[in-house]
Subunit: 364 residues, 2 copies
């Protein structure tokens, strides 16, 4: 176990738009089973901290409507550690809510903040680095984000620039943050050798992120005025409802990390996968579930001819999926939705935005 | 009504391989609903003869396993007019069985033989021509097949060569038959102006086709030795079982029409569609069921982007079909099978031959 002032915050408020139709607003990605396992993404995330942080120091922040699913997925998390957001307002408000909750219980707390829908396959390295960083923060007043050595010019990630990549596991000060660059810029970044991907996993002292939020997100902080009296009391729900009503959507990256002078990172090759895109889903598909033509298959019978590199997912395992002359597509049959589209994430993101139309509401 | 020695023979033994997965061995095409109507193909075929041939002079030949479906589809056809083949042996044995059945009841009979899964949209012309031809056969000893002026070099049809196309509705002697030519030959045929498509609708006297079968299909005919005593009696089933056991697959075109000196044809522009191919299904799809991008849709909700000229069929009308970047494909979801493949019939025919593998048996 890590020191008893080290807390884990699992951000689980995602509403399942990126992976539609597998992920829907009813069952977003964090509550979906990780392909090839019997655990959901949020269960996998929580178990990553088994032996490091106990359930009573694990906080889960989610949208109010997903509280029952969080309880079902993580039955050993105390009820008071599940924080219900009335609206989804991106990561900065979510982190603020968790921060005030933790501060009330332990002003000296160190927070490890993690998304609930990533995969980390190199658990040993992850444990080593997260232990080293969180324990180290007893002495340093910095905001650390774990960095990943980029393997391709992916335009779906945030990039962190440093002054020459340090050794694996060695923290270094951040020069700049760039969120989702275009393809050309991403290529330059990757080939320069000065950039890491932002894993979205943060480690900091609660007091440090608090002071930086007060500096860079005063409007957000002002919405939480009076938190000391409200949080952890019967008044909390109403307090949070009012606070969120006046909060704008903003990520912690845009809101704090890009501005602060205290941002550090630490490269860690821990087998990290965002799995926030079809491309990354394809890359984490177990080899045993890819056929000789590179089709990643989670379905019953498949009959394929001249079809390569597709993602084929069918909820009904008694169904035959027959593919002819199809390359690089996503074919998903959830039972209520059948989607056939290119494995190109930009295209599909653009496409699924069409779901906002009223007529498709029930399929979201 | 036509003269009371004119009979109609509906060939309904097709086993549903061409239109898989819509058409399956359980419910082949003749028992499927015609898109945009509430009638099945076989019902549409039978009703095409309403007012011309009464049910008691209508014979339906089908595979033994489809007898219940024929009864359900055509309840006014007398039971003794539904002929059950123990095995499917193509059109020549099917026609022989019908011919002997009719000869037993009326040696002077004239037979109109028709497939059960075609569409004819120009009913008036069809009625006029079929009446003219069948009544005309009281005086002529020829085998007539109705001809269709070709509109494209389709390689899925049989072609009939004549010595210069006559007026619409005028019979002419056939020079040659060519079944399913290759693309190049089909182009030459169409541009020559000397060819018609073979509609597969035949008109002849039972006695004439009998003598030509005796001449060109002696082995087949020999299998029916003793028909006079067996057909129409309790011995019929066993007799037919034995006869078919020794019969080889052969079509009436290969077996008789290509050899006989008595073949005639008659061009008739009657809005004929084989609908035996996805291309022809696409062409008969009602305009009201095609969207602005040319997608032929028989489904509930469809959300399409940059997707053109597809055939989209979903049995579950509450399901959303979402298509992105897909052109010229067939997307069919029957509930037990999802097929995505090119609208190219040759490709799909080749593809669905893969169904013969044991592992796909239950999906056929």
């Amino acid at each position: 176990m890590l020191s008893n002032n080290i807390w884990c915050v699992i951000m689980a408020g995602g509403s399942g738009t990126r992976f539609w139709p597998i992920s829907t607003s009813k069952v977003p990605k964090q509550f979906q089973i990780v392909e090839g396992t019997d655990k959901t993404f949020i269960q996998t995330t929580k178990s990553r901290f088994d032996g490091l942080v106990p359930p009573e120091r694990t906080i889960v922040v989610t949208n109010r409507k997903y509280v029952p699913q969080v309880r079902e997925n993580l039955p050993d998390i105390p009820q008071e550690n599940i924080l219900a957001e009335p609206y989804s307002r991106d990561t900065a408000p979510c982190i603020a809510y968790a921060m005030y909750t933790i501060l009330k219980r332990d002003p000296s707390a160190i927070m490890i903040v993690t998304p609930s829908d990533h995969l980390i396959l190199g658990l040993e390295k992850f444990h080593k680095t997260i232990s080293f960083l969180s324990e180290g923060l007893h002495e340093y007043d910095v905001l650390v984000t774990m960095g990943i050595s980029p393997t391709r010019p992916d335009t779906n990630y945030g990039y962190i620039q440093v002054d020459g990549l340090p050794e694996e596991g060695t923290p270094i000060k951040v020069k700049t943050f760039t969120e989702k660059p275009d393809a050309e810029l991403a290529k330059v970044f990757v080939s320069s050798g000065e950039f890491l991907w932002n894993s979205g996993i943060f480690i900091w002292r609660a007091a440090t992120i608090r002071s930086e939020m007060e500096k860079y997100l005063p409007q957000l902080v002002s919405q939480f005025t009076g938190w000391e009296k409200a949080i952890g009391t019967p008044a909390e729900e109403e307090f949070i409802e009012k606070a969120y009503a006046g909060i704008e959507k903003i990520s912690i990256d845009y809101g704090v990390m890009e501005h602060t002078d205290m941002a550090w990172t630490c490269p860690c090759t821990m087998g990290w996968y965002d799995v926030g895109t079809w491309e990354s889903l394809y890359s984490v598909f177990p080899d045993t579930k890819k056929d000789a033509d590179g089709n990643a298959v989670s379905a019953g019978a498949v009959m394929a001819q001249n079809s390569h590199d597709n993602i084929v997912i069918s909820a009904d395992k008694s169904k035959l999926v027959a593919l002819c002359d199809l390359d690089g597509y996503v074919v998903v049959d959830t039972g209520s939705v059948l989607m056939v589209g290119p494995r190109n994430d930009k295209r599909l993101r653009d496409f699924t935005s069409g779901l906002l139309k009223k007529e498709y509401e029930k399929y979201r």
